[in-house]
Amino acid sequence: MNLTFSGADGIIILVVYAVIMLVVGYLAGRGKKLNESLNDYYLAGKNLGIIALFFTLYATQYSGNTVVGYAPNAYREGFSWLQSIPFMTIIVGVYLMFAPRLYAISKRANFITPTDWVTYRFRNKAVTILAIILMLWGLGNYLLEQLVAIGQAASGLTGGTIPYEYAVIGFVFVMLTYEWLGGMKAVAFTDVMQGIVLMVGIIVLLIGALTLTGGGISSLTSDIATTAPEKIGVPDSITSVNWLSMILLVGFGAAIYPHAVQRIYSSQSERTLKRSLSRIALMPPITTGFVLIIGIIGIQLFPDLDTAASEQLVGLMANEVAAINGFYYWMMVILFGGIVAAIVSTADSALLSFSSMVSNDIYGKYINPDAPEKKKVKVGKFAGIGVIALLLWIAWNPPGTLYQIFVLKFELLVQVFPAFVLGLYWKRLAAVPVFWGMLTGAIIAAAMTLTGNSTLLGVHGGVIGLAANFFICTVGSLLIPASQAKQDEAEERSSMKLEEIKYNEKTGSLG
């Protein structure tokens, strides 16, 4: 995306953002011995307050792609992209299925990663390892996507003055540095800045776009009805099915992202968690909803863009908005910096989660369980650098035909859902069917995506895999139930045991 409105000013704003992130990271870690405990480094001591928790949930769910990628979707699909509001909202609904109980158990049993719950519930090596592989694979690809997006956005903002590779390396360096210094605390505090900038940017872009159209909403819709009736009429049934499938895939997938689960663990208290989620549920209309309107306005302002050209929609529009006057010019520069910042804020959460799983799940469970926590944290930090290096190498040397395997994200992650959530409430759920369900679901989802049939009659491969997964888990557990002893054990572990929970006045948490 080449933005004629920017260049040197874009570089200034990116440098300002980078400096703020570094300062916040430094302040978050200053004087604290974060590195000595997994809890402190990866979960901010399980003590995030409402503002930090709200913004870190927001910045994790909404990325730069929410603006740069969703506006073109709205442009191409028209009003059926309304689905972006419910599919972001339903994430909170899926949280409500498991977060209340998982929060209470996580405080009692001191979980660090999502895998901790799977291990605690099933005590089965095969289930744990498969869950780790699926989550790390999904998370790694998610991170890869964010890294590529950082480069594209930053080089677009500066009109190519900062080349793609330098932009990626520069921001990766900034991200690794503040994460190294302040862990989860730095990630959450930088998310506050990144989230605010993104929100303000979207609102200004919307106001600018509305100014450009001149006419009201009626003239906009009647114009689209004449030029592109398919974008404004009731969509065909495949699109409607796909719309519902999207709600399921994003809802189940995004709530089960390892970094999303870790935000449940990080909350200071149940009150903080539910208040933050209650506000997050209200954000989709003013985030993806506004982006939808921006995309729709694009249909009128820039008719007849082909798919490739429509990908540049936000840039095209920002150029026009920036030309209105000096205020809009600077707001658009800030918006594009904000888009880069939003991508960084999504990438940092994913990276921290990745490191924590290497630290706690791979190294801490299987390689060196007796290692002191300080060493585990250190291993995670270096693993983070390692995975970034590997992903950058993949990004710049895409492996030809197999590139599709790096597209799999939600499809794989979501397969952990039955083990994770059914396991909370159903004591009969047994490890063996869970393993085969997870594996079958992952294979179906991967095979459909890799063969280029990512949907079947509008239903996503990930959703079909998930349905098969649920079926195998439940029928398998009914046919070959776990032994009574195992069921009792499972019941004991998944109960909230409220009578035993006490508030620990020293640590300020439950125990």
């Binding site: 009003f79 209470a104 909403i217 009626s218 819709t221 009805a225 969509p235 209650s278 409220l498 006045e505």
Partner: protein, 85 residues
Amino acid sequence: MQKKVKEPIRKPWIWITMGLLVLFNAPWYLPVGSMEPYILGVPYWVLISTVLSLVLCGFLSWLCLHEWDIVEDLEEEGRERSGNK
């Protein structure tokens, strides 16, 4: 003293309501291609889907605050006792 615990998963009405709000969010039950009448400048089905989406947001937001109460009292009491606000 333990107050009655509120856990959303135990209340079927929550999931039935949520399911219906999601199911009718996509306009599969309306005639394909139709766009009239226009209400408030947008096709009727856009308004229906938007309203259902907003109701979903409000419903979920309300649920978080009013149908979820497990360890809150315990934590808040403890916090007050230890002056750790």
